[in-house]
């Protein structure tokens, strides 16, 4: 039932206008292609992560669960959330192919400084880039 992702992707890209709007901080936004267009950490959290980790970042539990990101000591090291967002793990999606280095750095810096987390060291886009596998020739 799912459209082949690559076909959908190709088609969406073909109809993408050059001026595809960029979401402003805090806006409800809808991306136009098969990658996310939100740029700043807050917009990315509220339009993407919040779907699972919830608006208050306290997570939720049913048959399975979404862990809380609020007051989460596992965010103390910046590389752990960086790797998780980039590569996914279990039911945590892979965002590496739908977000660029800067977006991932922005959202990780956002969750590490909000929701009762107060880690001040910042992740840089270059640190994300270094985690990506080398491009195949």
């Amino acid at each position: 039932m799912i459209k082949p992702k690559n076909l959908l992707c190709a088609a969406v890209l073909l109809t993408l206008p050059a001026f595809a709007s960029q979401a402003l901080a805090g806006d409800v936004s809808f991306s136009r292609g098969y990658t996310f267009e939100e740029r700043d950490g807050k917009s990315i959290y509220e339009n993407v992560c919040q779907g699972c980790h919830m608006a208050d970042a306290k997570g939720a539990t049913g048959a399975g669960r979404y862990p809380a990101l609020a007051e989460n000591p596992r965010l103390a090291g910046k590389m752990y959330p960086a790797i998780l967002v980039l590569k996914g793990q279990g039911a945590m999606p892979v965002f590496g192919d739908v977000m660029d280095d800067e977006q991932i750095a922005n959202v990780v810096n956002y969750v590490r400084s909000q929701f009762g987390n107060a880690y001040t060291d910042k992740l840089t886009p270059a640190e994300i880039a270094a985690l990506r596998p080398p491009k195949k020739p």
Binding site: V48, G62, G90
Partner: protein, 532 residues
Amino acid sequence: MTEPSSVLPMSRRDLLAMIGLVAGSGASYRAMASMGLVAESTYKGPIKLDGGAKGKSVLILGAGHAGSVAAYELRKAGYKVQILEYNERVGGRCWTLRGGDKFTELGGATQTCGFDPGLYVNPGPWRIPFHHRALLDYCKRFGVALEPFVQVNYNAYLHSTEAFGGKPQRYRNIHADFNGHVAELLAKCTSQNKLDDAVSKEDTEILLSALKEWGALDKNYSYASNPQSSERRGWEKPPGGGIGGAPIPSTPMSTSDVLKSGLWHHLSIGQQVEFQTTLFQPVGGMDGVAKAFQREIGDLVRYRSKVTKIDQNDSKVTVTYVDSQTGGAPMQATADYCLCTIPLSVLSQIDIKVGPKMARAIRAVPYESAVKLGLQFKRRFWEEDEHIYGGTSYTDMPIRLIGYPNTGYHSSGKGVLLGGYMFGPNAYEFTALPPAERVRKAVEYGSKIHAQYKTEFDNGIAVGWHRVPWTLGCAGTWTEDTRAAHYDNLCQLDGRIMLAGEHASYVNAWQEGALLSSLNAIERLHKHVQSH
């Protein structure tokens, strides 16, 4: 008309490549098949588990199609079977929402479906291809009545906010004009011998007459305003009766307008094997399949049982579970074997005693995002005003499509549309909104295709699959790499534990995949029992 080269800044190779894309060429079909995207069923008729069960018991986890079909067939083969199921119903993702139904998503938001009696939306599966033979066979054996599901409706719309001033176009117009113009261009190339060696002299004549027929070209191989093209794209004034009955042909859109619109993209969908005519839907809602299974194996199910731990040793499997609504003291069930059909999104968080290879496989498969919305309107304006009976309109807006009911045509009273069906980024973004906002946004977008939305909208319900408490997502997403690294390890019998479900198949995100996976698993399990 001008030369093709001056009409289009496009090389012949590009053009042919594009035709290949739209027509679903052999090459792209093979590429897709190798990625597991085009999967015809490998079902070979009712499963035969001969030789007896040797007094063995099987504990099945999850009562979706994978769990249900295993329970049905294993009991028939003589096994002692019990199912633990989180919900209070059989069916899992095979699920239908009707008036009065409540749905509480993760995070606590509760929606109550406000549809009139007889109306419904299938928030999960909604269509069954004719070649999903396992599913169709169980429908037949269980007496589940089917009716046609309309995939392609020539009178529905294709819509782009960037084309034709945002005015929706009838599928018929885009289809006829795209084919007509491409046929004309190819005919020009052909008759001017520009296809080089690609077509032999003797095939040229055949190709020309084929193009004429395919594209509704006139005797000069032009796609023009005339009865031939109007028979495809519709008339300016259709043929009538009596005086003044003479038809007036319509005028095709320009080649450039059709190409630039991008709307041709939607023409290929119905040509994929998965969406080719005939498709079916159960009469009254997809959960007709689930209800049939519930009738057959419901007595084996312990409902409201949330599995929290799966343990095994040399002699048995022990599964720990709690009441899914009230929690409380953990309970245990034991059996000789366990068939676990819990989606990997959930299973990846459950303490399960399996070898490192299966354990890694369980945590390697993320679940796709998807959102579906059911919208009730005060009348079936799409039929009354626009003569759209079933099928789908496609758009580049975030809702992606509008699905019309493939049943109950011409009935008076209210009607329910599928108001949106998203994947990818838009599905995440819709899931992140509160349910009422999702509905409000879908109505806002939909009204750009059907202005009647503004006055006729009644109520709606929105399911974001990442918020569904018992699947945390729509379906497992494999990549070529994760398949190669983990798929076989996932499907292998590990001691006394075997996994099954849509995720343990190459027919992902289809009910057929759940059935084929489970039938394959119990066949192997039964063989194992026979030889031990």
